[in-house]
Amino acid sequence: MLVFIFRRLLVAFSVAITVSIVSFMLLHFSGDLAVSIAGPDSTAEQVEQIRIDFGLDKPVVFQYFDWVWSALQGDFGRSYYFQDSVMSLITERMPVTLTLGAVSLALATVVAIPLGVIAAIKQDTWVDRLALTIACVGQAMPSFWFALTLIVIFAVNLHWLPAGGSSTWQHFVLPAIALGYYATPAMMRLTRTGMLEVLGSDYIRTARSKGLSETSVIFKHALRNAVIPVVALAAVELGFMLGGSIVIESVFSLKGLGQLAWDAISRNDYPVVQAVVLIIAVFYIVLTLLADVLNAMLDPRLRVR
């Protein structure tokens, strides 16, 4: 198991290096940085001065290592637009996105897995059809529209919950439902398919032949095997929610990473874009690693690979 984790760490580390090179290049190839930092009204001397100040006259490789070294110390440079350090922008936004992502995933898991299990056990009954309908609607409905519907019902008409902002936990309820609902269908369907496959397997027949209770057959013998692909999917979905919740964050005016990325992209604020890309990539890597380790804990056959 330790060897397995060590190997996965090596892979994760090399992916992280690759991503850091790509996101560094993103900045480097976006035009002459000295010119864009200096602004349109600057003289040639000022541009040269900036080039030297920012270390842009050095070879690319040196610049990369400089950048990685500072990034490792938490220094991603200054934002062109916000007049603030990139790191402080990110640390300010991160908790919002992390909270939203974690709550949404928790919500999605709590709904999707039991629903998938029930749908599989009650295959081809109305329960199964209802679950599939919910999944279909969830997959077909645009998330911004669902988010707006939630706002109209629960914030505007019923006044139960706030429509936007991020100051209290209540502000997170509607966005988490909207984002979680988006993640639920795929997980539910995968759980259902996995359960159906496992319930038809020989070892479930063996478990039944031993006279075990239905609870033991379903939860001990079936679910553990059925849930393995769901874990990998959940990791990817959480990664997506952390980086791609721009739509939900905009609709609920949550100041999260997604919105920061959106602002930065629309304003050519490259240092911010670069940092956000790198951080989200690192999230993905860590999540994939966690999913791999979790899967190996669930399925002993994966430990030898």
Binding site: R208, K210, H221
Partner: protein, 332 residues
């Protein structure tokens, strides 16, 4: 009472898209305590369906009826689910055909060996493990203590089947149903597993229903044999009687299909039974074997035969054939 299992007119039907599949069409069987009964037949003759019905492992849509389905004085059909669960696994257990997939890949062998006995007999984990180690040793699994912490994928098919055999014996059952336990194994391993099952059966005095399509296997281990065709028992007798005096044309056909070393000349044609098994959807008229039988008369496809006692034999030898024994003898 020496009977552990008594079956009268067992029927199993499954609804399919093309109509109701009557997989088992009225089976009469009994198993005595400590006896090895072999059920022989081709694929699709209902032998696995019979075993699944006995274990209560058929899907819910399957309909099981019987005049008598008596396990040691208990009516299996009317037993409440909880009681049924207790019998299955504790007093009745099963060894399956596919050792490669019959064990849960995610749990250790120790866990899977011990869970039934801990549940049914309430023994401690330590006691269960002790019994598991003992039975693994008896089943010829090397390094049994180490196996408890291993996972199925770390074992070969033959070893896994030995583990399955040990697992079936954990609760000291009265009856073990072995559904083609050697079919998926290498020939060399097959012989070992056969010998093992026979040995353990005799040592523990467990009754075994051994299901197979291989009459060669039957000859080596059976006390009694029931030959099945198209969802019915067509002939049943002691193993010795069946081999020395096969009555039913189907049994004879099956026996002729087996090459005998020294007797079957090299290069000579091995016999086969022409035709295919009839569809089991809907009713069958007359003898189910009539269309493949080389002694059948026009009467065979009209009159549905019943399982009759063979008058000339001393032991309990029953045959389901419309042509009388004497006529049969002459025809062969």
């Amino acid at each position: 009472m020496n009977r552990i299992l008594d079956i009268k007119n067992l029927q199993v039907s499954l609804p399919t898209a093309n109509g109701v599949l009557r997989a088992v069409r009225g089976i009469d069987l009994h198993v005595d305590k400590g006896e090895m009964l072999c059920i022989v037949g081709e694929s699709g003759c209902g032998k696995s369906m019979t075993s699944m019905a006995l274990m209560g492992l058929l899907p819910k849509r399957a309909e099981v009826t019987a005049e008598v389905l008596d396990f040691d004085g208990l009516d299996l059909l009317s037993l409440p689910k909880k009681e049924r669960n207790k019998i299955r696994g504790m007093r009745m257990s099963m060894i399956f055909q596919e050792p490669m997939t019959s064990l849960n890949p995610s749990y250790t062998l120790g866990n899977q060996l011990c869970e039934a006995i801990m549940r049914h007999k309430g023994v401690s984990s330590a006691e269960a493990k002790e019994r598991a180690v003992y039975l693994l040793t008896r089943a010829g699994v090397p390094m049994p203590e180490k196996r408890l912490d291993q996972y199925p994928h770390q074992l070969s098919g033959g070893l896994r089947q030995r583990v399955m055999i040990a697992m079936a014996l954990m609760c000291e059952p009265d009856l073990i149903i072995a559904d083609e336990p050697t079919t998926a194994l290498d020939v060399t391993i097959q012989a070992q597993i056969l010998r093992l099952i026979r040995e353990l059966q005799q040592e523990f005095g467990t009754a075994v229903i051994f299901i197979t399509h291989d009459l060669g296997v039957v000859a080596r281990i059976a006390d009694r044999v029931a030959v099945m065709y198209a969802g019915q028992v067509v002939e049943t007798a002691t193993a010795q009687e069946l081999y020395s005096n096969p009555m039913h044309p189907y049994t004879r056909g099956l026996l002729n299909c087996i090459p005998i070393p020294g007797k079957t000349a090299p290069g000579s044609h091995l016999e086969s039974i022409p035709g295919v098994v009839p569809s089991l959807i809907g009713e069958l008229k007359g003898c189910a074997f009539a269309n493949r039988c080389h002694v059948s008369t026009s009467e065979c496809s009209q009159r549905t035969p019943s399982l009759e006692l063979e008058p000339n034999s001393t032991s309990l030898h029953q045959v389901r054939c419309p042509i009388t024994a004497t006529t049969l003898q002459e025809a062969m």
